[in-house]
Subunit: 634 residues, 2 copies
């Protein structure tokens, strides 16, 4: 019985004590999940020795100060093993037994899968194949910016190695020689419904990890001496290290060990009691791990530049009214202006000459991160830099951001600020065809929790909004357009987030046209044509799609009987529905022009017209609706 | 000069003629893009020999009958090299010179990136890393179903090997020993903005492909003899084959060859003329490739089962009213009922015991495809089976379908029918926390072109809608719930797509509550409570979210001054906005209850309440709104 050991387990402790700690982690995983009636005890139990050795001898962490920049990171990529993580937190003393046994309870911070509600969790995990990507991002940030000495440890399951994102991450880890990244794979052979793709064929994974530029160490995942040697090797490796640990799911409890029947199931009370007894009963071991860095290294760390939490004031670049400039060009120039702040980092998905980020690359190559054609890892790397306090901007084609949707979803769970831009939105791109057209991106971005969605129509608003985004929390999204259009606004015009711009208000307006981006130009053209026909309309530039300027919309809608929304996007989840949702109690008709069919390859002008969102269609919509209303009332 | 050769190039033709064909493919790529003023000639030129050998000697294809089931497949994963593909089509005689030179023109079918508008293109490509996944899916379908003898060839760029989805695909190719899949990688070293991750380091890719279970052949991609030997080896390989072809981007035109400046740029007219001259001028070679299979194999093919284009009538399983059954259980039972039709195939993302697909696995293991935790490839494989005519159903957690968003986007471009289900939607899942909750899935699925979105509240509607989905075109999505709830409808109730169900209509109703799935139960509970308070309301079951029952909604909204929508989903792009968008000209107030914060881990009931979408909140919303309205009018 080791349940009454009171002297803390320290880095110099004997293997027997580490084994005792592993038993405690198992016991706590069982107790927490049985108490909650939910959770994954067996997936936690397989990795108990891997966690115990890490916690005792390797994870340099000041548990009293999780904000310390010289702390290591431990990211639980197999997020369903949260009971193990919470048992580790109890072992280091940051949560107590009562909190542990209240896991998954109302208002608690110990959730089914870890989230940043916990100060020791930088990013939510639980969508498999993502934790390793964030770990890679955090390690990349440390390597690229001032060669910071923290080590990033991540624990993966073997099941998640089927996710392409794992290999996208390891590719970047190998390419960038992230020596301070160690990926521990808990190869317990069993997934949710049966054996994983390769079971205990550790050699299959080893060949892959090696081919992706990693050092590979294979261990018995229940042998603390082997684990210790592997971690030691990882610290001095000249490459990222992948430790493939052969383990037994549910190890320590004979009734559930290596059984495919026990995934994601808490043990019933009687079986839990039996398992806890088999493991030697509850214990209260306390771990004092190695703590962050020695004094010398700490001093070196102190001398490193730390990003300021407050972004400096940046003057957005300005453009001459009437000049034809693409919003993507303005975005690039804005990034360059922001880049004077040395805390700004820009990531590209190998399309920098299309999105505008290439301008930043030229100006600040040391803070430009090429992610190549790997959008999931681009977002994960952006998150990694953001976790380290850098102000991060990332861009690719709007359409291709959908590749990273699940990453954006996870990052929106209390994650750090990430500033995105998506170029080549809509049918406006012209001849490249539908696969390149972002037509669902507004819907995707709006539905993310806490997001901001901006869609400028001209270069001055684009530049200002890009600069404003730099200060926003959560995920912000700037939708930018391929073509060059006239600068509409004077250079001193202000574009507050949540605002809008009203064009040509008149007492006799028969309609309000709501556009953003390229469709604002179509609306303005339509307004000119309608004026000639004796049908005056006003135009609202809805550059802030989320938050939306509900007040301006309601004001317009109460004054004109017709509101026409025009968007280069699908009708669902975009501008039209956002506007309609604000106006249900205002007695006006909202007609929504959007892209309803599969577009083809043609000039931008003809594509806009074929999609029914050109000035011609707007004019016709207003004319027909007003004529019909007049006829009805006659 | 070979421009006037009139005898067709056949499989037995000399290498010189194949080289002449390669020159023609280059010339045509240049001519088409220069005429269009758009496109990627240099990315086409690097692969001309690879294409010429394939077309002449390996691709067994009846160009007069693309629907033949014994045709091979050629999938252009590097979709931006469409000019090469179109040049190949001219060489086999299915498009003429006029159409080629009208590439990317209005109404034309030769788009910037290939789409299924062309009868020889089964799936759109152009989002990199996807064509190889669809090719894998099509090869998997042939291997799993009756060991069909067609070969699948796909041409990738080296840049796209950075996409995780490529390795997700090769993992499945290796695991399933897809001997009839050959991946040709055009390693031309240059991406859009510069050198790719590994440039011409073909060995780096070779190690990876081998580790993923593929045979690897390295060739000089401009040497037709080497290419020929590689293709020959691929045909007799006992594994999928990856051919790594070292090539030069823009090969054949000295002014642009191997230059990073010429990605995605058509040659100006003068340079094009010079390049065409350098390549020997335009030619009109005609290829007569090997054609599909010999007579013996063809007979064998004929004896194989061909899926019927018309699904048989299937009786949905039924459930007793009042019984508590999860919609995911009903979905599983419906799949089993559908499975009596031997043309139905079901794919799982290793959560079959959660989604209900496990029931199908037990009943029809031979038509159950385990995709493991790899949602992108699950969708790509589903597309592959669907391309082959199978009726495909695939399911995972609603949240994790977001991982495959870009695949769904591409599949929605005139792709084949794919029937999806997403389980564990919303905060209703309870203790597992926000990472597992599908809260953005309705927005994502609605915005896909041509999609159908269904969200049943009980087992009878779930089963019927799953059966109905089996006949739908495009992408259909069934949103299913974790918990078990009472069966609401009699077993003979009908649930047409686009319909709704009205509960408790009365002349004095003060409000219409609109719910679907779990929130319908909350609406019904609220209605009972409100009736006690003397506030009668009606409830609309919006089980068909897209298409939406606009008529029923408008009818309700004109009769009750208040409409309350309740959804276990984010407020953007979901039920509330869909409803609001239908009702803008009806003078009623729409109040939208949805999940606005980051949810936590708790019981389903408490999660619904904390999110503000429980019966209690619905009651309060109606009570407060009606009271306020009464006060205002007093």
């Amino acid at each position: 019985m080791t349940s009454t050991v009171h002297s803390p387990i320290t880095p110099s402790t004997e293997p027997e004590s580490v084994l005792a700690l592993a038993r405690q982690l198992r016991v706590d995983s069982i107790r927490a999940t049985t108490a909650a009636g939910s959770g994954h005890p067996t997936s936690s139990m397989s990795a108990a020795e891997l966690a115990a050795v890490l916690l005792t001898r390797y994870l340099r962490y000041d548990w009293g100060d999780p904000a310390r920049r010289d702390n290591d990171y431990f990211i639980l990529s197999k997020g369903h093993a949260s009971p193990l993580l919470y048992a580790m937190y109890r072992a280091v003393g940051v949560i107590d037994e009562a909190e542990l046994l209240g896991t998954y309870r109302r208002g608690g911070r110990l959730e089914g899968h870890p989230t940043p509600k916990l100060p020791w969790v930088p990013m939510a995990t639980g969508s498999l194949g993502q934790g390793i990507a964030y770990a890679t991002g955090i390690a990349l940030a440390g390597t690229r910016m001032h060669d910071e000495p923290y080590h990033v440890w991540t624990l993966c399951g073997d099941g998640e190695l089927a996710e392409g994102s794992v290999w996208e991450a390891l590719d970047k880890a190998g390419l960038n020689k992230l020596t301070r990244l160690t990926v521990i794979v808990d190869v317990n052979r069993l997934g949710q419904t049966g054996q994983t793709e390769y079971g205990w064929d550790v050699a299959a994974y080893a060949a892959r990890a090696r081919a992706f530029g990693c050092k590979v160490v294979e261990v018995d995942g229940h042998d603390v001496r082997e684990i210790d040697a592997a971690y030691d090797a990882a610290l001095i490796s000249d490459r990222p290290t992948v430790i493939l640990a052969r383990t037994v799911k549910g190890y320590g409890c004979s009734a559930v060990a290596d059984s495919p029947e026990w995934h994601g199931k808490p043990l019933p009370a009687d079986l839990a009691e039996q398992a806890v007894a088999e493991l030697g009963g509850p214990s209260h071991l306390r771990v004092m791990g190695p703590g962050p860095l020695g004094a010398d290294e700490r001093d070196a760390t102190r001398r490193r530049h730390v990003p300021s939490p407050t972004p400096p004031f940046v003057q957005a670049p300005t453009f001459e009214q009437g000049e034809k400039v693409g919003t993507r060009v303005a975005y690039g120039k804005a990034l360059v202006a922001l880049g004077e702040d040395q805390d700004v980092v820009v990531l590209d998905g190998e399309v920098g000459n299309s999105t505008g980020t290439g301008q930043f690359e030229e100006a600040f190559p040391e803070r430009f991160v090429q992610s190549y054609i790997a959008e999931q890892q681009m977002i994960a790397s952006a998150a990694g830099f953001a976790v380290r306090g850098w102000r991060v901007h990332a861009a690719t084609f709007a359409a291709f951001l959908s590749r990273a949707h699940d990453f954006l979803r996870i990052a929106s769970i209390d994650g750090p600020p990430i500033h995105l831009a998506g170029s080549h939105c809509g049918v406006e791109i012209g001849p490249d065809g539908p696969s390149q057209m972002g037509l669902e991106d507004i819907a995707m971005m709006r539905a993310l929790h806490g997001s901001t969605v901006l869609y400028p129509a001209d270069a001055n608003s684009a530049a200002q909004l890009a600069v404003a985004a730099n200060r926003l929390p959560g995920i912000s999204y700037l939708r930018i357009t391929r073509g060059s259009y006239p600068v509409l606004y004077p250079s001193d015009e202000q574009f507050p987030i949540g605002g809008s711009k009203l064009w040509g208000e008149g007492a006799d307006d028969v309609a309000t046209l709501v556009g953003a981006g390229v469709t604002l130009h179509e609306c303005l053209q339509a307004a000119r044509e309608l004026a000639h026909e004796g049908l005056p309309v006003r135009v609202l530039d809805l550059y802030s799609v989320k938050p939306i300027d509900a007040r301006a919309l309601r004001r317009c809608a109460t004054r004109t009987p017709l509101v026409v929304t025009v968007e280069d996007h699908r009708p669902e989840g975009g501008i039209g529905e956002a506007v309609a949702a604000e106006l249900t109690d205002v007695p006006c008709l909202v007609r929504r022009l959007a892209v309803r069919d599969v577009p083809g390859s043609d000039t931008p002008e003809r594509n806009l017209d074929a999609a029914g969102i050109s000035a011609r269609h707007i004019v016709r919509t207003v004319r027909e609706t007003v004529t019909r209303a007049t006829a009805d009332s006659a």
